[in-house]
């Protein structure tokens, strides 16, 4: 039986608390992993591993986190047009104003929020 939204959210919260050392009440659906929860690049790999374990799933490269973008989407640290379109597709709720100006790929993780993980897992475990 598929997990409910609340069950998925509770498990994601637990993973983030363990991986990032944050308090339970700091994790909210709109919290960005990097900006609000202080995630560094290696934490994305850690979170990925923990989610795989917790949900008993495999997360293929580039499927969940934007930083796993295929190299063809990035040129000299900047997103290509196709790269920007790909990030928009994956993060439909995010504010793209800054990214559109700079195209700086290192800004992409700033856009990624807790709800994006939950939505991904809802699709994945449906």
């Amino acid at each position: 039986m598929a997990l409910s939204h609340d069950e998925i959210y509770a498990k994601v919260k637990e993973v983030l608390v363990d991986a990032l050392g944050v308090d339970d009440d700091e994790v909210k659906p709109e919290s960005s992993l990097k900006g609000d929860l202080g995630a560094e690049s290696i934490d994305f790999l850690d979170i990925s591993f923990r989610l795989e374990k917790s949900f008993n799933i495999k997360i293929p490269r580039g499927e969940l986190f934007p930083e796993g973008l295929d190299a063809s989407f990035v040129q000299d640290g900047k997103l290509t047009d196709a790269g920007l379109a790909e990030v928009r597709r994956r993060l439909p709720h995010a504010d793209f104003s800054e990214l559109e100006k700079t195209r700086d790929v290192s800004l992409v993780p700033n856009l990624f929020a807790v709800r994006d993980i939950v939505e991904y897992l809802e699709r994945k475990t449906a």
Partner: protein
């Protein structure tokens, strides 16, 4: 020259687990740095021993093609001190391995007693630091590290 902190492997199962030992001697200068007249192995060096054991395990899993670096200490719980004269054992087990890196759980023991429980995460840096250029050659796994594994395999009569 790189600094090798483990003495030898006593068990090595590719992609799964490895065990290495380290015999601690009073002659090692760093044992005397923390407390005068009370030499102990600093906890950071216990983590280093686990990182070397687990790092070689993770590197071997991809035939040393990846540059494997210690990226995160997820947890390190210490249960007792280690003193000169003890032989400590580092047991590492791969929990997850992907093209990006690996997570490893380890326990450190001395005789029957648990010294520490340690969880580490390793990154394959060429796969994770998109856009950054690293030297072509594998600067992580020098001959000194791979020799440790070859010595074990030679002693265990396992073909390399």
């Amino acid at each position: 020259m790189r600094w090798i902190w483990i003495d030898k492997f006593t068990e090595f199962t590719s992609k799964t687990s490895a065990t290495a030992i380290k015999t601690v001697t009073l002659a090692e200068e760093h044992l005397h740095d923390l407390y005068p007249a009370f030499p102990i192995v600093p906890h950071s060096l216990i983590v280093e021993g686990m990182a070397q054991t687990a790092g070689i395990l993770v590197g071997e899993a991809r035939n040393f093609r990846e540059k494997v670096i210690l990226a995160k200490i997820g947890r390190a719980t210490f249960h007792r001190l280690v003193r000169p004269g003890e032989t400590i054992q580092f047991q590492a087990r791969i929990d997850q391995l992907s093209e990006h890196g690996a997570s490893v759980s380890g326990s450190v023991t001395s005789g029957e007693q648990t010294v520490a429980d340690i969880e580490l995460m390793f990154s394959h840096i060429d796969q994770n630091m998109a856009g950054l250029k690293f030297p072509e050659h594998n600067f992580v796994f020098t001959e000194q590290f791979t020799d440790l594994l070859q010595s074990y395999r030679a002693a265990a009569n396992i073909s390399i």
